[in-house]
Structures are given as C-alpha cells and as structure tokens.
C-alpha cells in the first residue's frame, strides 16, 4: 500500500461518523404501507408487468404466508412488523431519458456524494453502471458498448419487458420462491434489480457494476439480480451498497441468482456498507439476502467476494451449487462488525458433480459489542467423486465485549472426496503491536495495518476500484473500537 493511501485511510478514520448519511429529497411514488395481495398487485401494475410475473409474485406471497420467520441464526432483533413497511418506492415516473442531462439533478448529486458520478465513470473508469435508487433503475450506461458484444445488461423490469423468454427460463431456478422466508418475501414484492446475460463465448469487456441505495424512509429494498453466463462466457460483476442514516431499521431482502453454463465464469464482488446503526445500536439496516450461484455446466466457475462492513443485521450466505463436472466454487469474505452490529454470514458449497472444487476463506473481525458469526455448509453428495474442499475461517476479536463464533457444517457422503476445515480465533497479539510501536507506528495506525494485512487475502480478490474503497471502509468501521 502506498503512503498516499495510508494517509487517506487515516484521514477517513479520524472523521468517524457514517460517511454516506445524507438523504435525497426526490418525490416518491409509494405503495400503501403493509403487505397484502393488493400491495403485490399494486407493485405489479406500477411496473406494468405481464400476467405471468404477477402470478409468480402471488404464488410466492401465498407461500410466504405459510412460513414462519427463521430463528436459527445467531442474531437478536426485535420482531419485524412486515405490515409496517412500504414495499414499493419509485421516483416519480419520468419521460424516457436519453442522456444524463435529463436525469433529476438531485439524483445526480446523490451519485456525486457517493463518489460514483455516472458522468465521470462513463469515461474514466470504463465501468458500466446500472444505478438503482430505491428500486427503479434510473439510467444504464454503456449499454450500447455491451450490446455490440451481445451482452444484455439492464434493469430487471426492462428484462421482463424486453427479454421475457430469458427471464422466464432462468428466474427462480437457482433460488426458488420456496427456498426460504426472505426469498419468498422477495419473490412476492421485489421491486427491481439487475439482469445480465452473457451470450456464448463472450467475455465481457467491462466490469459491470450496480449501486444499490436505500433512500426513502421506511421502505424495504427488495432487489433481484439475475446473471446468466452461457457457454464460455465471462463476467466480473460488482455490487456496492450504501444507505443514508435513518433511525428506524430498514429492511432489505434481496435475491441474487447466478447461472454459469459450460466453461463460463462469473465473478461477483460486493462491498456492503449500509448504515450500521449508531454507537448505541439505534437504527441500521436489516439485511437478509439469499445469494446463490449454480455451476450448471462442466468446468464452470463462480466466485463470490464480499466485504461486509455495514448493516445492523446481516444474514447472508452466498452459495455455490457445483453441478457440472470439474466446476469450481469460491467464497472470499471479510465481515467486520462494530458497536452493536450483528452478522451471521458464510456460505454453502454443494458438490454434485465429479471433480468439483471449492475454496472458502472467511475473515471475521468483531469489535465493540458486536457479534460476528461464520456459518457455512460443505456438502459432498455421493456422486461428487474426487471432489475437494478447503475452508478456512479466522476470527479476530478487538475488545472484550464482542463475540466471534464459528458454525461450520460438513456433510460428506462419499469416500473419494477430501474436505478440510480449519479455524482460529485470536486477538491482535501484544508482540505485533509492540513491534509496530517500536518502529514509531502508534497503536491505532498499527491496528489498521494489522487488520488490513489480516484481510489482505480477501481484499486482493476484489477488483481494483473496490479494493481501495474496501480498505477505507475497514478502517472507518473499526474507528473508535480500539485503544
């Protein structure tokens, strides 16, 4: 890391409070509070959806009603009143936009504050951004470039309108609406999201990126992302999240589905820094996400990289189903919790095909009064001959009021596979600190350094733009937790 970046991190550290706590006043088109069939019909009608989509939502809703909220996670929160949430908030309908000039200036300002000015990104970063603010895709850039390669990258609603056959074919095949409580809820009320289709043999020339942002008060964000890579396709997809400061907890229940066919590769990176609540544990986002990738084809590969620093509650298990022979699943995660944050996160690797391989590297860092759990499943089915898994989950404790927990499940049903799991829990050793102090590095800086080094293995997997941001976030999250 250069000196410059180090200084930047320190600057950020000294600033402290939640950096992205602002609120853009855009006129909202709100659904009535509460969840009934009418709400779902309202959402569907607002989005001008076809009949089959409404049917899907209603089926999911009826299934959701039959379910109970899961309680197995190592999380404690007051019961969520699902009838006290506004399920749909869209910026007032605007005429079709052709250039950025037509976009609401306030909205553009929001992007500027986030540091992802569409205008700049368009030219400099070479990143196509599908920015999502409170559920409706406002502007998608670089679509033309992508279209040349035959890549479809658009909002989910557009995909429903323009590519219904693809949506019908793939939606719900990896995460069916019956999967779990929050997946059923999302399937019923999802507002928008991103859709990405990489045709046969195409390597995406750009890193695709979406910014999610929860804006209006009391609205849940229900995103749905679907990525399909056909034979030999490759895409690196980035998801970044921020939410403004709000006192009431906001609910977020998203679904991400990835499908990789023969020889395809999908890399999915997330930096999640939603509002974690203040120092007393007031407010913050409840984040219940179902993310799953299906390595459907032979030699396909799905890689999840996540940096989780935000949200007061995180319930998230990006998983891989390794169905094709020789397919590969990877999971790299850094989860940081501070103050009263709680995270229960990890992965599932389900080996079905022959010679499938999976790697899990999870780094948990807990500080303040937070609780950070790793929960993971490695399942080797009888047909997964010669499959291989390696898992490592380390926890770092900063302070004596926090908790770090590890709940790995290993289920092996065949004798030719090798599964290894190891985990350690420790704190930053006095020796390491002493060494740094002795070299003239003060304790706070030293801890920043050590934590970054500790998480390096995962941060290195992130695309460049994200890696810098993630390092900063780590330091900001841990600010005030040490000393």
């Amino acid at each position: 890391m250069s000196d410059q970046t180090n200084n930047n991190i320190l600057d950020e550290v000294t600033k402290g409070e939640y950096k992205f706590g602002f609120y853009t006043d855009i006129e909202n088109d709100l659904a009535p509070r509460g969840l009934t069939e009418d709400t779902i019909r309202f959402i569907s009608a607002k989005k001008e959806e076809p009949e089959w989509m409404l049917d899907f939502r209603l089926k999911a809703f009826r299934h959701w009603q039959s379910l109970e909220e899961p309680e197995w996670a190592h999380l404690h929160h007051p019961p969520i009143d699902f009838q006290d949430i506004i399920y749909f908030a869209a910026p007032k309908k605007k005429p079709q936009l052709n250039s950025l000039d037509e976009v609401d200036p306030e909205l553009l300002e929001t992007f500027d504050k986030l540091g992802i000015s569409l205008d700049e990104q368009k030219r400099l970063a070479g990143v196509a951004v599908d920015a999502v603010i409170d559920s409706v895709s406002v502007k998608t850039t670089f679509q033309d470039t992508l279209a040349k390669h035959g890549i479809i990258f658009c909002s989910f609603s557009e995909a429903v309108k323009n590519h219904p056959e693809l949506v019908k074919k793939y939606m719900g095949t990896v995460v069916p609406y019956t999967d779990n409580y929050y997946a059923a809820l999302n399937s019923a009320v999802f507002s928008d999201g991103s859709f990405c289709f990489i045709p046969k043999g195409v390597r995406s020339p750009l890193e695709l990126s979406t910014y999610f942002r929860i804006n209006a008060a009391n609205t849940g964000q229900f995103e749905r992302t679907l990525i399909v890579a056909e034979e030999g396709g490759y895409v690196s997809y980035m998801e970044g999240c921020t939410a403004p400061m709000r006192d009431e907890n906001q609910l977020h229940a998203a679904i991400v589905e990835i499908i990789a066919m023969d020889d395809a590769e999908v890399k999915y990176s997330t930096v999640q820094n939603w509002y974690p609540g203040d120092k007393e544990g007031k407010g913050g986002v409840y984040n219940f996400v179902t993310k799953r990738g299906l390595c459907k084809g032979h030699r396909s590969k799905i890689s999840w990289t996540q940096v989780e620093t935000g949200s007061s509650i995180t319930w998230k298990y990006p998983s891989c189903v390794l169905m094709g022979d020789n397919s590969i699943g990877e999971f790299y995660s850094v989860a940081v919790t501070n103050n009263f944050q709680q995270a229960d996160t990890g992965t599932k690797m389900i080996h079905l095909g022959k010679n499938t391989r999976s790697t899990i590297i999870s780094k948990g860092i807990s500080a303040g009064k937070s609780n950070n759990s790793y929960r993971g499943l490695v399942k080797i089915m009888p047909g997964a001959i010669n499959s291989r898994n390696f898992s490592q989950c380390d926890s770092l404790l900063l302070g004596d009021k926090c908790g770090a927990h590890t709940f790995p499940y290993i289920d092996t049903r065949n004798q030719s596979s090798i599964v290894e799991h190891e985990a350690t829990t420790s704190k930053i050793s006095e020796d390491q600190l002493f060494y740094c102090n002795q070299r003239g590095i003060d304790t706070e800086k030293a801890i920043g350094l050590i934590v970054n080094g500790y998480a390096k293995e995962v941060l290195n997997k992130l695309p460049m733009e994200f890696a810098v941001e993630a390092q900063k976030l780590l330091s900001i999250t841990l600010e005030g937790s040490v000393g």
């Binding site: 080797i380 404790l397 790995p408 049903r413």
Partner: protein, 472 residues
Amino acid sequence: MEKDTLQQALPLDQMLIEQYRKNKELITANDIQYVSKLREEAFQTFMESGFPHSGMEQWRHTDVDVLTEDAYLNEMEVPDTKKDIEELFRCDIHNFDTETVSMLNGWYIDKESPLKTLPEGIIVGSIRQAMKAYPQIFEKYYGTIVPKNANGFVQINTAMMQDGVFIWVPDGVKSAKTLQIIKIINKEEQLFVQSRNLIVLGKNSELSLMHCDDSVNQQSSLVNTVTEIFVDENANLELYKLQNLNDQSGLINSTFVQQMANSNIKTNTLTFNCGLIRNNIHVKLDGQGSHADVLGLYLMDKQQHIDNQIRIDHNVAHCTSNELFKGILDEDASAVFNGYIHVARDAQKTNAYQNNNNILLTPTATINTMPFLEIYADDVKCSHGATVGQLDQEAMFYIRSRGISAANARLLLMYAFAADIINEISIEALRQRIDDMVKKRLRGELSVCDKCVLHCGAPEKEYHFDIDLSKI
C-alpha cells in the same frame, strides 16, 4: 411384572408416562425427599418436551424416532437374579487388576454389599443405597451438574432412574486400582434400561475409572445413561468409556462434568460396535486453571450410526481444553460429530483446541461434522479443525512398494490413524489391550463377544500385522 408386559404395545414415551403415574410409589420407594422432588420436576419437563426428534437442530442427523417409537419392557423392580455375574463376566486383562462393579440389565449386582468402602477409602455402591447413606452429598451434587434445560432423555432419566453407580472419592484419596463399571444387557425381551451415576471427586483426589457398555446377546435394547461427575479442586480423573454393543442396540449416553480450580480430567470414549449410539459429553470448566482432555475413537461399519456431541464451557479464565475425535467408517456406517466450545465473557487466557478427523472407506459411508466455536472473550486462543478423507495414496504406494500386501497396508494406515487416540491411554496394560482390540476390529474379527468387551475369550494373544520383515 405382569402389568408392565401389558403396556409393551405402547410407544416408549407414552409407556413411561403411564408407568410413572401408576408406579410412583414404587419408583420413589428408596428416595430421599430431595431426589423425589427432582423426579417430579423432571417428569413435568418431560411431559412438555417428550423425546428429542430429528426436527431439532441438535438431533437432526440422528434419527432416534426409530428407537423411541418402539415398545420396550422397562423393569420397575429389582429382578430376582440368581445368575452369577462372575460366571457371565470375567475380566482377565493380563497385568491389569481392576476393582469391578457390575450392573446387569440396569441393576446393580452386589456380591458382598450394595455399598462398600475400598481399602484406600473410596466409597462405591448402588445409587439407591448411597442416597440414604450420604444424603448431604446428594443434596449438594445430584441433579446440579445436569443443566435444567437438558433434553428429554436426561429428563426421563432423572424422573425414573432406578439404579446406578455411586462413587465418592473423599478429599486427598487416590485410587490404587482402576475402578471398572461393567454394564451388561442380557434379556430375552426388548429392554429399556436407565441408569444414573454420580461420581464425586473431593479435593486433591485421584480416580481412574473405566466404564464398559456391553451386550451379551443379539436382542435389541435401548440404554439411557446419565452420569454426573464433580471434580473438586486439584482432583484428577481419568475416564475410559468402552462401548461394544450389538448392532440392534441403542445407547444414549449423557455425561456431565463440572470441574473446579486446577482440576484435570481426561476422558477417552472408544466405540467399537453399536447399532445407534449418541454420546453427549458436557464439560463445565468452573474453576481457574482447570484442564479437560476429551478424546474419542469410533470404528463403525454395517449400518451403524454414531453421534458424538461434545460441549465444553469455558466459564472462567485460565482454563484449557483439548478435544480430539477420530473415526473410521466402513460399509454403510454414518457418523456425526458436533464439538461446541463456548468461551464466556471474561474467560480470558482460554486455550481451546478441537479437532475431528474422519476416514471414509466406502462410497456409502457418511459423516456430518460440525466443529462450533462461540467466543465472547478476546484474549483467547481457540482453533478447530475437521477433515474428511481417505487413506493417503502416497503412503499406500510407499508401503506397497516395500512388498506389503494391499490389505495389510490398509490395515497399517488405519491403525496408525487410530493410534493417536490409543497412545493417549496412560494405563499400559489397558492400552495394549485396546490396541489389540483396534487391530482386531480393523480386521473385522471383533464381533460382540458373548462375554465382555475385554474378555475376548482367549488367553492373552498378541496381535501382529502379517508382514514379512525380511522384505523391508
């Protein structure tokens, strides 16, 4: 006895509930008041909870329904046994002199007296007799080491236990010989057996204990054992559990240990054979400087199922624990391991290690391993590991290139894998014996003997690998 036989048609839980209600006086006949009170509380809890089922997180890999939905005979009174236990069982480990205590079908068999004092001062006897002789000890320890929210098996044991072994090692007393508890099931009917043991080690005392569960015929049975162990300051306990029951049997074994400052325990659970076995071991480290070694080895085949649930609570600072379970699974056997290390807030300077290694020999053997850590203190060193694999092909090649047959190479490697646990046995004679048994078991020669696990029918015989040393 007649009324019990009539109820045999009912599933176990209903049968027990009815039996408790009808025979309350009989059950509590030998009780001190304190124990009766506990029985009633536990019975109420059982009425609400019933037996655990596979819908519960901790039981989801072990289907006990097949056991609990069956009908059993539960004896309410001491049967009039004329059989000589000596004849049934003879322990003759070479150079291994033990003090034995026997239980037949869940009842304490006393040759001389139901409550005796060994020369060094250790008091051993039937729990029925002991509670009247030492009510103050019972009031202090009995039922206090078992957590209040324990599962249905523990509750029904507390409610309806009839007999078991009581051991009290007074302060400063050290056992001269290993004490051996032999439990044998031999009955024509399908039997449900509950036994309850209370073991108290006073300050600075020492005890070496061996606990054998055996069946002597091929009739199925369900054994539900609860053992409470209190280890006072500076005391030292070695506990060996040998489990060798027939393929039809179910064994639910719950052991709860409470350790005070600077105490040491070492438990070694060796499972050779049993249809379905569940070992719950729960160690509470309640005194600073205490240490627990919890080890285990399981060698399962056919359609056997083993479930080891090990929980270690680090409640105070400066405690250490070490968990190591190793297993070899053959044919359609399945195994579950769930290690749980809980480090309480402020239990600083904890050092806990947990490891589970498994070898699967066939495509149909399965293993579920769940090494959990729950940590609320920061100055700790906790690590865990779990591996599932097969015999190392390179090692196999190396051995075979030295002219050793594939079958022998396999045996050697499996034996080496198991040796980590066997070598931890500190009583030399016992270690050699177990060593032989493991070799026999790996060769598939060890069936449930018609006698005890340790009485393998023959004069002392060394087991060697059939290797031509001249070729090496």
